[in-house]
C-alpha cells in the first residue's frame, strides 16, 4: 500500500493559514488548501501501519490508512467512499476536528504526523467538486418513522444513517436552521456554514424530512411526537453552560460564550440577530475566561470585531510544550495548543481563578483574579489559592467559556420524564436506549459536551441500535 518510503522522502507540509492581517478582516475560513499533487504526496507519507494507531485514536473509526492509500494513488472517488463508510460528514471533521488520529499517528512519535485531517478535508472537497457525492436515496423504504430531535452533528449523523437505511426520518430543530452548535457555535472562520447547507441539500434529496423552528417540548409536546413516530432519538446536546457564581456576576458586559458566538454567526448568515442586545467586542477590552476551544473561538471573534485588547485566562496550569512522561504517545497529547485565533493577538494566562467582578454603572470594568497552585494528591489534581496574589484585570467585555454542564432539562426532558444519570445527562443502556420505551438518545446529551467527531460517532451508534430496534439490520 502507498509508498513505503513516502514518509522518508516527503516532508510534512501543512496547507497553512491565511496571513493574519488579511484573515482578521473577515470571517472566511482561515485555513488554506494544498494543490492536488502535494496533497497526494502528503498521503504517501501514511505507512499503512500493522497497528494503525490513528484509526484506533479516531472516535468515528475512520479507516485512515485505507483512504490515505487511495488518495495517494489518485483514486479520489474511492477515497471518498471509504471515508464516508465510517464518517457521514468528513467536511466538518476535516475542518474542525482536533484530530486525535494525528496525535496517535506513528509519525507523531517524531512530531511529524501524517496530515490526516487536511487529507480528509481534501478528499471530501474534491468529491463534492467532482460530483462524486450525489443524493442516493434508499431503494426501499421500511415504512418505519423516526423522529430525531436536535440537529447538531449527532442528530444529523443519526438521521442520515437511519434515512439511508430506509426509514422515514424527520429531523427536528428548534432554531431556524439545522446544525446546532456546528452552525451557531463554531465561528465561520473555522467552518464555513455553506458546508452544512451543502450536506443538508443532499440529505433532503435523499428523502430526509427536516422541521426547523420547532422546539419539541415547547412548540409541540414530546408525547405527541412519540405518538406519531415509531422511535424517537434525542440529540439535544448539552447546552447548559457552566456559570461562575461570584460577586459581580450580574454586571453588564458579562456573557456566556455561546450567546456571544451565536450572535456573530447569525449576523454572518444574515439571520435575525437581536440588534438591541448585540454583544460586540468592538473597541472593548475583552477577557475570555476559560482556556478551551470555545474560549479560543471567542478570541478570534473578538479580534475580528475589532477588540482593543483580548486576554484569555485559564484556571489550570499552562500545559507543557512537549508531552510529559505520563502523557506518552499514542494518547491525545496534553500540550499547549496555540490556535489560529491565539496567533491573531491575545494575551494568555494560566493558573488564574476568577473570584469576582467589579464595575461601574452596572457595567463590568475589571475581573478580580487570584493565582492558584496545583498538586497531585492521591492521583488527582488538587487546587489551592496562592495567598497574596489577588489582582485585577481590566475588561469591559467578559466572556464565560467554562464549558457545559449537561442538557437543558427544562422542556422536553422534564416533560418526557426520562431518567438522568449522575452527571445529569440522559441515561442510556448499552443499546443507547433511554428509560422510555422506543426513545433513544445520542451525542452530548448522553455523554456531556465533547467533540464533533464524537457526536457523529455517537449518532451513528444510535442509528444502528434504532435500526436494530426497528428490525432493519441494514446498518453494518
Amino acid at each position: 500500500m502507498g509508498d513505503p518510503k513516502g514518509f522518508i522522502k516527503i516532508k510534512i507540509k501543512t496547507a497553512g493559514n491565511r496571513q493574519i492581517h488579511e484573515r482578521t478582516r473577515d470571517y472566511s475560513e482561515v485555513e488554506q488548501t494544498l494543490n492536488t499533487e502535494d496533497r497526494m504526496l502528503q498521503a504517501s507519507r501514511c505507512m499503512d501501519c500493522g497497528i494503525p494507531f490513528c484509526h484506533w485514536g479516531c472516535p468515528v473509526d475512520n479507516l485512515i490508512p485505507e483512504w490515505n492509500d487511495l488518495l495517494y494513488r489518485g483514486d479520489w472517488k474511492g477515497a471518498s467512499e471509504r471515508l464516508h463508510s465510517t464518517n457521514n460528514f468528513p467536511e466538518f471533521t476535516g475542518r474542525i476536528c482536533p484530530a486525535p488520529c494525528e496525535h496517535a499517528c506513528v509519525l507523531n512519535i517524531e512530531g511529524e504526523p501524517v496530515t490526516i485531517r487536511e487529507n480528509e478535508a481534501a478528499i471530501v472537497e474534491k468529491a463534492f467538486a467532482e460530483g462524486y457525492i450525489k443524493p442516493s436515496p434508499p431503494p426501499v423504504r421500511s415504512g418505519k418513522r423516526v423522529a430525531v430531535i436536535g440537529s447538531g452533528p449527532a442528530g444529523m449523523a443519526a438521521a442520515d444513517q437511519l434515512n439511508k437505511a430506509g426509514h422515514l426520518v424527520t429531523l427536528f430543530e428548534k432554531d431556524e436552521k439545522i446544525g446546532g452548535l456546528l452552525r451557531f457555535g463554531i465561528p465561520d472562520f473555522k467552518l464555513n456554514k455553506h458546508t452544512i447547507d451543502r450536506r443538508l441539500a443532499i440529505m433532503m434529496a435523499e428523502g430526509l424530512e427536516v422541521k426547523t423552528g420547532i422546539e419539541v417540548g415547547k412548540d409541540v409536546s414530546g408525547k405527541e411526537i412519540m405518538g406519531q413516530y415509531d422511535t424517537v432519538c434525542l440529540a439535544i446536546g448539552a447546552m447548559k453552560p457552566r456559570d461562575l457564581s461570584v460577586e459581580g456576576r450580574e454586571l453588564k458586559g458579562i456573557h456566556f460564550a455561546m450567546d456571544y458566538l451565536t450572535q456573530q454567526n447569525r449576523v454572518n448568515y444574515g439571520l435575525h440577530a437581536p440588534y438591541d442586545n448585540r454583544i460586540t467586542a468592538e473597541g472593548r477590552k475583552v477577557l475570555v475566561i476559560g482556556g478551551g476551544d470555545t474560549g479560543s473561538d471567542c478570541v478570534g471573534t473578538a479580534i475580528r470585531q475589532g477588540a482593543e485588547h483580548v486576554t484569555q485566562i485559564e484556571i489550570l496550569p499552562r500545559p507543557p510544550e512537549r508531552r510529559s512522561p505520563d502523557n506518552p504517545w499514542p494518547y491525545m497529547g496534553k500540550t499547549l495548543k496555540t490556535s489560529t485565533s491565539h496567533e491573531e493577538g491575545c494575551e494568555r494566562m494560566w493558573n488564574l481563578s476568577t473570584v469576582g467582578f467589579t464595575g461601574t454603572q452596572q457595567r463590568v470594568t475589571h475581573a478580580e483574579v487570584e493565582e492558584v497552585g496545583w498538586e497531585h494528591v492521591n492521583g488527582s489534581l488538587s487546587m489551592s489559592p496562592v495567598p497574596g496574589t489577588r489582582h485585577q484585570i481590566e475588561a469591559d467585555l467578559i466572556l464565560l467559556a467554562l464549558g457545559f454542564l449537561h442538557p437543558v432539562h427544562e422542556g422536553l426532558l422534564s416533560e418526557l420524564g426520562v431518567t438522568l444519570n449522575n452527571r445529569e445527562n440522559i441515561k442510556v443502556d448499552g443499546h443507547m436506549a433511554t428509560s422510555l420505551d422506543k426513545v433513544f438518545a445520542t451525542g452530548d446529551a448522553v455523554n456531556g459536551a465533547s467533540l464533533v467527531v464524537t457526536a457523529i460517532a455517537s449518532g451513528r451508534r444510535a442509528a444502528k441500535r434504532i435500526d436494530e430496534y426497528l428490525q432493519g439490520g441494514g446498518i453494518q
Binding site: 514518509f7 522518508i8 497497528i51 485514536g57 490508512p65 505520563d326 506518552p328
Partner: protein, 1509 residues
C-alpha cells in the same frame, strides 16, 4: 499387556514416529558365500554406530538388523532334512511371550502353510543371548523361533506361496483375539533371504543372535541397517531390513501413498498371485513409512515385476528438461507417473531379493551412499565411506550413488548393472513414447475459441458476501498476487486468535495448519532446486490394473498448472476426448435446514460421486456456482474430502478424478488444502471475478489476462513452497497426502470426513461449520442493498475487526510502563493482555490453575526467575545495531541470555563496555545460512542454538534483502554490502536426525563449554522429534509456537504453518517424560509471551525457560508496523537506514525493567500457586484446569484434557532437567591432536604429527581449533604451526572449523561435511599411495563440503559429492570434479573444478568466483544461470589467479590433471569457464571504480600539494 508403542497417550500419537539410519551392504560380486561377508556386514554396522541411537537406558538400541542369503547348508549340518535349493524356505518368527499364545500363533501359521500346499519341516529355536541388551528392549523382546518349510515347486512359485502364507497369517493373527498378537511378526519368509533383526544396537546384533557368530552360516550378501529413531518407543518389528529393503530417510507423503494404495486394491489383478483379497491389505497397518514402502515393493515384485522396475516407478528420478536422461526414459517415467504417485521424500534405499542386491537414491539425493569395489570382487556400499578398510592397491573403484540413480549387482551372473543400463532396459520394454503421443493430450495445448469471461454480473456482490470475502482478501491477497505474481509478505508473526477461538465466522480452511519438515527430513529449496519439483498432473484416470501394461493407461489429459481459468475449465467440462465424460455435482445445502441439511447434502454428493464412478465417468466436477437465498455453499474442502474418503472406503477412488469449481479458494493455503485432500484441478472463479473488478476499477493497472496469469502463477509458486516445506517434490504425491493438522474440529467430523488427519483438542462440529457458512450467506441475501465488504483486520489491526493481541492499548501500556519503570502501569498492561488472552485469544487463555497461597517472601527471588528468560533470535541485520545491543546489554545484566540470530557477531562485542556492560550475545545461533559462523563466534558462546525452524515461517529459509546489508552487516556475515543474503530452507548438513546428532557433536567439540540447543516449531509430532533431539545429545530444546516470530514471511506461512505453542509444548513435555528423557534436556518455550501469566501456564505445561521476542521489541519502541522487510521501520528497530536508526528511542534499561516486571509477576503467581521455586511447577499440568467461565459458540466442544494430561510416568520420572547430557567427546581423536600440539599451543612452536584415521573419528580438528581460538582469539597462529598428516578414511566433518596455522593432510578419503565452517585452516586430501584408480573419476570426499566456510583453503585430488562449497563465503577450493548443486548459495571465495560438474551449478550463488575446466564444452547445460554469468577466463588478473591456484594444487597434491593443465596452459586455460554472479561483478566493478576514484583524488591532492610547494 504392555504395549510396545502406546498408540495414544495425551497428545502423543504413535504415527508421529520417524527414523533415520545407517545402511549398507557387503556383497561378493561372484556370489561366493562365506561367513566373512556376514562378519563384514556386522562390522559395517558397528562402524556406523554413531548413526544409530540409544534409548534412555543407554543400552537399548533403536533397532539393527541384517539380511543374508539363506544358509541352507547350515540346517543340513544341523540334521534337518532340507529339500534342494529353491524348494526350501525359511524365516524367523517373532512370537508372543506367553507360551500358549505363541503356540497358538505357530498353529495359525502352520495352518496357512498347509493350506497353501507347503510342507512344514520344523520349528527351530533361535539361539539368542539377551544378556547385553537393554531393559527396554528386554521388556518387549518376543519369543523368536525359526520356521523351516519345503515344497516341491519351482522357486518362484514357492516364493509367492511363502508371501501369501505370511500375509494370510499376519492378517489372521491381527484379527484374532490374542492378547499378545502384536508380537507376532515375520521378519522374512523366503527361499532366498533371511533377516535377523531386533531392538538392538549395532554391536548387540551379532551378540544377540548366536547364529550370526557361527562360521557355518555363510552368505554372499549381507545387507545391514541400524536405526536412529526420533521415535521414542522403538520396537522389534520396526527394526530393519524389512523383507526386501532397508531405508534411510523418510517418506513424507506416506499418508497419501497408503490411501492411494488402499484405494487401488479394488482394481488390481494378478494372474500369478491369484485372489488378491487373501493378501490384502498390501500395506500392513500400524507400521512405519519404510515398512509400508517395503510392503508395496514386495507386492510388485511378487506380482512379477523386476526389482529395478518396481523401485523406479515407486521412487522415480526427476524427468524434466533439466535432467540429461533419454527421451525414452522420460516417457517411461511419464507413463508410470499417470498411475503411481511417487513415494516422495529424501531417501537412500538398499534392497535385495537374494540374487540381486542394489542401492538407490531418490531424486533429491540428500542421503549419502558411497561404495567401493575391490579387485577381489567385493563390493561395499554404505551411508559412509570407510566402513570397511581395504589396502589402497586392492581398490578397483570408489563411487557414490547420484540423485535418482540405481546400482545393482547380480550375484548369480557376477555382474554389476549400472544405472544407464538398467534404465535403458526399462525404457525400451514398451513403446511408451508412442503410447503417450497417441493417447495423452495436454490441456494447455487444446485450442478453444470459446472464451469464458470472469465476470459474475449482478451476482458479484452476493458471491463476495456469501463467501465472506473481506477487504483484505481482495486488496491484500488477491490484488497483490494478480499484480506481482507473488504472495504478499508480512512480518511480526500472527497475533489473532486461533480460528476456533474467534467468535467470527471463518472458512473451514482456516482450521487446518500446514505441517512442515523439521529434523527428520529436510525441506526442499523450491527456488534454487526447482529442477526436482513439478505441479504437473493428469486428469481423467479411468484406472485399471497397474500390474498390466497398456497404452490405455495414458488416455488422459495432462496439465502443467492445476489451477485453471474459466475458459479452460469450460474445456475440461466439455471434454469428450477419447470418450471422456464427467458428472457435475453441485455442492450446496439447504440454508434453512442448517447442519442437518449440510449432512444430508454431503451424503447426497457422495452418493452421486459413486454413481458417477459406476457410470464410468472420468471425473466429477464439484461446483458451488448458483448459490441462492435457499442454497448455501458447502465448504469446498469438506465436500472434496468427504467424496475422497467415501470413494476410498468404497474402493472406487482410483477410477475417478475430482475437479473443483469454487468461489471459496482465494489464497494459496486454500488451494493446498483442496489438493491435499484429493482435488486434481481447481477453478477459483471468484478470484478471477475479483481480479476483473480490480482491473476494471483500475486498481490493478494491467490487463486482465496478465493479472489472471500472475494470480495463477502466484498460486503455483506458493504451492511449490508449501510442498517443499514438507520435503515433497511433486504435486502428484502431495495430492491427498493430508499433510495438515486440524486445530479445533471435533473428532466426529474428522473421523467421518477427514480420516487420517490429526485433530487433538476437539472443537466444532457440523452445526458450527454450517453456521459459519450461513452467517455470511444470510448477510449476502438479506433484504436491501448488498452490504459492502469489510476490513476484517486479520492482517492489520482494525477497530471492529479481528482481535489482535498486540493492539494500540497493549503496545502503548507496555511502552509506557517500561520506560517509566512503573510496575503499576505494567500491571495495567498485564491485566489488559491477560483479559484478551482469556477472551480467548490463545489456548492458554482457556486454562486456569489451582491456588494454594503461601507468603510471597517464601518464594525464590526475582533475580533467579529472570535467568530463565531469553530474547528471541533476531539477527543484527534484521534489527538495528542499537536494538540488538540493547537486548544483549539488558539480558547480560539480568543473567538471562540474548541471541545473535542468524547473522554472526562483530568480535568487538566480546569486549566489555566502559561501564561494565556487555553487548555479547550469550546465545550464538547456527542457522542454515551459517552467516558468520566462525570458530571464534562459536567459542564465544554460552549456548549454541541450532535453528531448525522458526515460528514465522517453519520449513522456509530466511532472506535479508540487499538494502539491509550495509558494510558492517556484510562484514559480520562475511558477505558483500548490497547483496541479498539467502538462507536455504534446509541445513545442508541436517537431512536427518543422525545428521543433527552429528552437528551437535561438531559444535560440542568446538566449544565443549557451551550448551547446545535445538529450536523447533510446534507441529504434529514435535514431541517425538524433540525426543530424537534429546537422544542426539542436545542440552536444550526450544519449542516455538506458530503465533510467534518476528521474521518476514509470506502471509500464508505466518497464518497457516505450524501449531499453537501450547499443543507443541505439552506434546513435547509428555513425550519426553514418557521416555524419561526430560531429565536430560532443558525445555524452552516461546511464541507470544507477554506476561507472567503466559510464563506460568507455559511452565505448568512443561517449559522451564521462556523466550520473548516481539514483546522485547515493543519495549524498545516497536509499534508493530509489520514492515520489517522493507527497511522502513519508523522507530529505528528493524531497519538499517541510518536516518531511521536515529529515531530509535529504546534503552537496555527498558528491557531490564520489563523482564523484572515479568519475574515479579511470576513470583506473585508462584506464591498464589503455593510453590517456593519455579522448578517445582515445571510440567505440573495436574495443577491446570479448564476455566469453565469462558465460552462461546465455537469453543463449546473444545477438549484440552489431552493437553493437560498428567500421566503415571509424570509421577515416576523427573519433569525438568536434573542431569547433564552425555556428549561422548572424551575420547575423540582431537584429544590426541591437542596432546601432540602442546608445543604449538603453548609456545607457537611448529609441530608435525602422523596419525591413522577411521570413519568413526568424526569432527577431527574442531576441538583443537576451538582451543586455539579460545587461547589466542583474533591473533592467529603462523601458517604451518600445526601440521597433521592422516592416513585412512576420515569420518564426517573432517577439518571442521579448522583455524589458521593448522594444516590437515589426508591420504585416503573423507565422508560428508569436510571442512564445515572452515575458518582459516588448510585441508589437503589425496588418494592413498599405491591406489590405482583414477582420482579424477573416483569420489574421495563426500557431500556438502565447506558448508558455511568463511576462510581457509582446501585442495582435493579427487571428486566430490553433491553441494560442494555450499554457502561458502570465503574459502578457496580446488577439486577435480563435483556432483550436483556445486557452489550453491556461495557468497564469497574461489572454487576451481578441474573436471566435470553435476547439475544446478551455482544455484543461488551471489558472490565469489568459480572456474570450471569445461573439457566437454557442455558446462552451460549444468549451470543454473539464474544469478550468474559465464565467460572465458580472459582477463589477465583472472588467468593469473586461476593458474596460481592450479599450481598450488599441483604442489600440494601432485594432481595429474593439474599437471596436465600446467604443462600446456595455452591449450587448457582457454577451456576454463569463469562463473561470476551478476551482483557480485557489479559490486567488484564499483569497488574498482571507487579505488580508481580514490587514486585520482589522491593524485589531485598530490598535484595541489605540489602546487602549494
Amino acid at each position: 499387556m504392555r504395549k510396545w508403542r502406546p498408540e495414544r497417550t495425551g497428545l502423543y500419537r504413535s504415527e508421529f514416529e520417524h527414523d533415520n539410519c545407517g545402511i549398507g551392504f557387503v556383497v561378493n560380486l561372484k556370489g561366493k558365500r562365506s561367513h566373512g561377508i556376514i562378519q563384514r556386514g556386522l562390522e559395517t554396522l558397528v562402524n556406523m554406530k554413531h548413526r544409530g541411537a540409544e534409548g534412555s537406558d543407554s543400552k537399548t538400541g533403536d533397532g539393527a538388523g541384517v539380511m543374508i542369503q539363506i544358509p541352507r547348508d547350515f540346517y543340513l549340518i544341523q540334521g534337518y532334512s532340507i529339500p534342494q535349493e529353491g524348494q526350501f524356505g525359511t524365516g524367523l518368527v517373532f512370537l508372543p511371550r506367553d507360551p500358549a499364545e505363541a503356540r497358538k500363533c505357530e498353529e495359525i501359521l502352520v495352518q496357512f502353510v498347509h493350506d497353501e500346499g507347503v510342507e512344514l519341516i520344523a520349528f527351530r529355536d533361535v539361539p539368542r543371548d539377551n544378556g547385553t541388551i537393554g531393559d527396554i528392549a528386554k521388556k518387549s523382546e518376543p519369543l523368536i523361533r525359526q520356521i523351516l518349510l519345503g515344497a516341491d515347486l519351482p522357486r518362484e512359485e514357492l516364493e509367492r506361496k511363502l508371501y501369501i502364507i505370511r500375509k494370510r497369517a499376519e492378517k489372521f493373527v491381527a484379527a484374532s483375539g490374542l492378547k499378545e498378537k502384536r508380537y507376532f511378526y515375520l521378519p522374512s519368509l523366503s527361499t532366498r533371504v533371511l533377516v535377523y533383526k531386533g531392538m538392538l544396537t549395532s554391536e548387540q546384533l551379532g551378540e544377540y543372535f548366536l547364529d550370526l557368530q557361527d562360521s557355518r552360516i555363510q552368505s554372499a550378501i549381507a545387507l545391514v541397517h541400524s536405526r536412529f529413531s526420533t521415535n521414542t518407543f522403538p520396537s522389534w518389528d520396526l527394526a530393519q531390513p524389512f523383507r526386501m529393503l532397508a531405508h534411510n530417510g523418510e517418506i513424507n507423503t506416506v499418508k497419501g501413498n497408503r490411501f492411494w494404495m488402499e484405494a487401488r486394491e479394488s482394481i488390481l489383478k494378478s494372474d500369478v498371485l491369484g485372489d488378491l483379497n487373501r493378501i490384502y491389505p498390501v500395506i500392513e497397518p500400524d507400521k512405519s513409512d519404510s515398512a509400508s514402502l517395503d510392503n508395496v515393493l514386495e507386492f510388485l515384485v511378487m506380482s512379477g515385476k523386476s526389482l529395478p522396475y518396481a523401485m523406479s516407478i515407486l521412487i522415480p528420478e526427476s524427468w524434466n528438461e533439466k535432467n540429461p536422461i533419454s527421451p525414452e526414459l522420460k516417457a517411461f517415467y511419464q507413463y508410470h507417473s499417470t498411475f503411481m504417485e511417487p513415494w516422495d521424500g529424501p531417501a537412500s534405499l538398499i534392497f535385495s531379493d537374494g540374487r540381486y542386491i542394489g542401492g538407490m537414491l531418490d531424486r533429491n539425493g540428500l542421503r549419502p551412499s558411497r561404495y567401493v569395489v575391490t579387485k577381489d570382487d567385493l563390493m561395499v556400499m554404505a551411508s559412509e565411506a570407510g566402513v570397511q578398510q581395504f589396502p589402497a592397491e586392492d581398490i578397483r573403484e570408489k563411487g557414490r550413488l547420484k540423485p535418482g540413480k540405481l546400482i545393482m549387482v547380480d550375484v548369480q551372473e557376477g555382474k554389476i548393472y549400472r544405472d544407464e543400463e538398467l534404465k535403458a532396459q526399462l525404457a525400451s520394454a514398451h513403446p511408451y513414447m508412442s503410447w503417450i503421443k497417441k493417447n495423452m493430450v495436454s490441456l494447455e495445448e487444446i485450442q478453444t475459441g470459446n472464451i469464458i469471461p470472469p465476470g459474475l454480473g449482478e451476482e458479484y456482490n452476493n458471491y463476495l458476501n456469501c463467501f465472506n470475502y473481506s477487504r483484505e482478501d481482495i486488496e491484500m491477497i488477491i490484488k497483490s498476487m494478480a499484480e506481482s505474481a507473488m504472495e504478499p509478505i508480512g512480518s511480526m508473526g500472527n497475533d489473532i486468535p486461533t480460528t476456533v477461538l474467534s467468535k467470527k465466522p471463518y472458512r473451514l480452511f482456516n482450521y487446518f495448519k500446514q505441517l512442515f519438515a523439521q529434523v527428520t527430513n529436510p525441506p526442499i529449496d523450491p527456488i534454487r532446486e526447482e529442477m526436482v519439483m513439478t505441479l504437473t498432473g493428469y486428469l481423467g484416470s479411468l484406472q485399471t490394473n497397474l500390474l498390466d501394461k497398456s497404452p490405455d493407461h495414458v488416455k488422459m489429459v495432462k496439465f502443467k498448472s492445476p489451477v485453471i481459468n474459466n475458459t479452460y475449465f469450460q474445456v475440461v467440462k466439455n471434454l469428450r476426448y477419447k470418450g471422456f465424460s464427467n458428472s457435475v455435482i453441485p455442492i450446496h445445502f439447504d440454508a434453512d435446514e442448517g447442519a442437518v441439511g449440510l449432512e444430508k447434502a454431503l451424503d447426497e454428493i457422495c452418493r452421486r460421486a459413486e454413481q458417477a464412478v459406476d457410470e464410468k465417468n472420468n471425473y466429477i466436477i464439484l461446483t458451488d456456482r448458483n448459490i441462492s437465498r435457499g442454497k448455501a455453499p458447502i465448504p469446498s474442502l469438506l465436500a472434496v474430502s468427504a467424496v475422497h474418503h467415501y470413494l476410498i472406503e468404497n474402493r472406487k477412488r482410483m477410477q475417478i478424478d475430482i475437479v473443483v469449481e469454487s468461489a471459496e479458494p482465494r489464497e494459496v493455503m486454500h488451494f493446498a488444502l483442496l489438493f491435499g485432500y484429493g482435488a486434481s484441478i481447481i477453478n477459483p472463479y471468484m478470484s478471477f471475478a475479483v481480479i476483473e473488478q480490480l482491473v476494471k476499477k483500475r486498481v490493478i493497472q494491467q490487463d486482465y489476462d496478465k493479472a489472471q496469469e500472475n494470480y495463477i502463477h502466484a498460486v503455483n509458486k506458493g504451492l511449490l513452497k508449501i510442498l517443499s516445506k514438507m520435503g515433497i517434490s511433486t504435486l502428484r504425491s502431495y495430492r491427498a497426502a493430508q499433510i495438515f493438522e486440524a486445530v479445533g474440529i471435533h473428532p466426529k467430523v474428522m473421523d467421518r470426513y477427514f480420516k487420517g488427519t490429526v485433530s487433538r483438542i476437539g472443537g466444532i462440529g457440523l452445526e458450527e461449520i454450517a453456521e459459519e457458512v450461513l452467517i455470511p450467506h444470510r448477510r449476502a441475501f438479506a433484504s436491501g442493498e448488498p452490504p459492502a465488504v469489510f476490513s476484517e483486520g486479520v492482517y492489520a489491526y482494525r477497530k471492529n475487526g479481528e482481535h489482535h493481541a498486540w493492539n494500540p492499548e497493549s503496545v502503548a501500556l507496555l511502552q509506557w510502563s517500561t520506560r517509566n519503570n512503573d510496575y503499576t502501569k505494567y500491571k495495567e498492561y498485564a491485566a489488559l493482555v491477560d483479559r484478551d488472552t482469556v477472551r480467548p485469544g490463545f489456548l492458554r487463555g482457556l486454562l486456569t490453575y489451582r491456588r494454594n497461597p503461601i507468603p510471597l517472601e517464601e518464594v525464590e527471588p526475582e533475580e533467579k526467575i529472570v535467568r530463565r528468560f531469553v530474547t528471541g533470535a533476531m539477527s543484527y541485520g534484521s534489527i538495528s545495531r542499537e536494538a540488538h545491543e540493547a537486548l544483549a546489554i539488558a539480558m547480560n545484566r539480568l543473567k538471562g541470555r540474548s541471541n545473535t540470530g542468524e547473522g554472526g557477531e562483530d568480535p568487538g562485542r566480546y569486549q566489555l563496555l566502559e561501564n561494565g556492560d556487555s553487548t555479547r550475545s550469550a546465545i550464538k545461533q547456527v542457522a542454515s545460512g551459517r552467516f558468520g559462523v566462525t570458530t571464534q563466534y562459536l567459542v564465544n558462546a554460552d549456548e549454541i542454538q541450532i535453528k531448525i525452524a522458526q515460528g514465522a515461517k517453519p520449513g522456509e529459509g530466511g532472506q535479508l534483502p540487499g538494502h539491509k546489508v550495509d558494510r558492517i552487516i556484510a562484514k559480520t556475515r562475511y558477505s558483500i554490502p548490497g547483496i541479498t543474503l539467502i538462507s536455504p530452507p534446509p541445513h545442508h548438513d541436517i537431512y536427518s536426525i543422525e545428521d543433527l546428532a552429528q552437528l551437535i557433536f561438531d559444535l560440542k567439540n568446538v566449544n565443549p563449554d557451551a550448551k547446545i540447543s535445538v529450536k523447533l516449531v510446534s507441529e504434529t509430532g514435535v514431541g517425538t522429534i524433540a525426543a530424537g533431539v534429546a537422544k542426539a545429545s542436545a542440552d536444550l530444546v526450544t519449542i516455538s509456537g506458530t503465533e510467534g516470530g518476528t521474521g518476514a514471511s509470506p502471509a500464508s506461512s505466518i497464518k497457516h504453518a505450524g501449531l499453537p505453542l501450547e499443543i507443541g509444548l505439552a506434546e513435547t513435555q509428555q513425550t519426553l517424560v514418557m521416555n524419561n528423557l526430560r531429565r536430560k534436556v532443558v525445555l524452552q518455550a516461546d511464541g507470544q509471551m507477554k506476561t507472567g501469566r503466559d510464563v506460568i501456564i507455559s511452565g505448568l505445561l512443561g517449559a522451564e525457560e521462556f523466550g520473548f521476542a516481539t514483546s522485547a521489541l515493543v519495549v524498545l519502541g516497536c509499534v508493530m508496523m509489520r514492515k520489517c522487510h522493507l527497511n522502513t521501520c519508523p522507530v529505528g528497530v528493524a531497519t538499517q537506514d541510518a536516518g531511521l536508526r536515529k529515531r530509535f528511542r529504546g534503552k537496555a534499561d527498558f528491557v531490564e525493567n520489563f523482564f523484572r516486571f515479568v519475574a515479579r509477576e511470576v513470583r506473585e503467581y508462584l506464591a498464589e500457586l503455593g510453590f517456593r521455586c519455579f522448578d517445582e511447577i515445571v510440567g505440573r499440568s495436574d495443577l491446570l484446569m479448564l476455566d469453565d467461565s469462558i465460552s462461546h459458540w465455537k469453543i463449546r466442544n473444545l477438549d484440552l484434557s489431552d493437553m493437560t494430561a498428567f500421566f503415571p510416568a509424570a509421577r515416576r520420572f523427573p519433569l525438568h532437567k536434573v542431569e547433564p547430557q552425555i556428549h561422548k567427546i572424551d575420547d575423540v581423536l582431537d584429544r590426541e591432536l591437542i596432546e601432540q600440539s602442546r608445543d604449538a599451543l603453548e609456545e607457537k612452536k611448529p609441530v608435525t604429527m602422523h596419525l591413522p584415521i577411521r570413519n568413526t573419528d568424526r569432527t577431527t580438528g574442531a576441538m583443537l581449533s576451538g582451543m586455539i581460538t579460545k587461547k589466542y582469539g583474533n591473533q592467529v597462529l603462523p601458517e604451518g604451526t600445526i601440521r597433521a598428516r592422516f592416513a585412512g578414511s576420515a569420518g564426517q566433518s573432517f577439518g571442521a572449523f579448522l583455524v589458521p596455522g593448522v594444516e590437515f593432510y589426508l591420504e585416503g578419503e573423507t565422508n560428508d561435511y569436510l571442512g564445515k565452517g572452515l575458518s582459516g585452516g588448510r585441508i589437503i586430501v589425496v588418494p592413498p599411495p599405491g591406489s590405482t584408480f583414477d582420482p579424477e573419476r573416483n569420489i574421495i570426499i563426500g557431500n556438502t563440503v565447506l558448508y558455511g566456510a568463511t576462510s581457509g583453503e582446501i585442495f582435493i585430488s579427487g571428486v566430490a559429492g553433491e553441494r560442494f562449497a555450499v554457502r561458502n563465503s570465503g574459502a578457496i577450493a580446488v577439486v577435480e570434479g563435483v556432483g550436483d548443486h556445486c557452489c550453491e548459495y556461495m557468497t564469497g571465495g574461489r572454487v576451481v573444478v578441474l573436471g566435470r560438474t553435476g547439475r544446478n551449478f551455482a544455484a543461488g550463488m551471489s558472490g565469489g568466483i568459480a572456474y570450471i575446466f569445461d573439457e566437454e564444452g557442455d558446462f552451460d547445460y549444468y549451470c543454473n544461470m539464474g544469478m550468474v554469468e559465464l565467460s572465458l577466463v580472459e582477463e589477465k588478473h583472472d588467468r593469473k589467479e586461476l593458474t596460481d591456484l592450479i599450481s598450488r594444487h599441483f604442489e600440494l597434491t601432485g594432481s595429474k590433471i593439474a599437471e596436465k593443465i600446467l604443462v600446456s596452459p595455452d591449450l587448457y586455460i582457454d577451456r576454463f569457464i569463469k562463473v561470476i554472479p551478476y551482483e557480485y561483478r557489479k559490486v567488484i566493478e564499483e569497488r574498482k571504480l571507487e579505488e580508481i576514484r580514490e587514486k585520482l583524488a589522491q593524485v589531485e591532492k598530490d598535484v595541489e600539494m605540489m602546487g602549494d610547494g
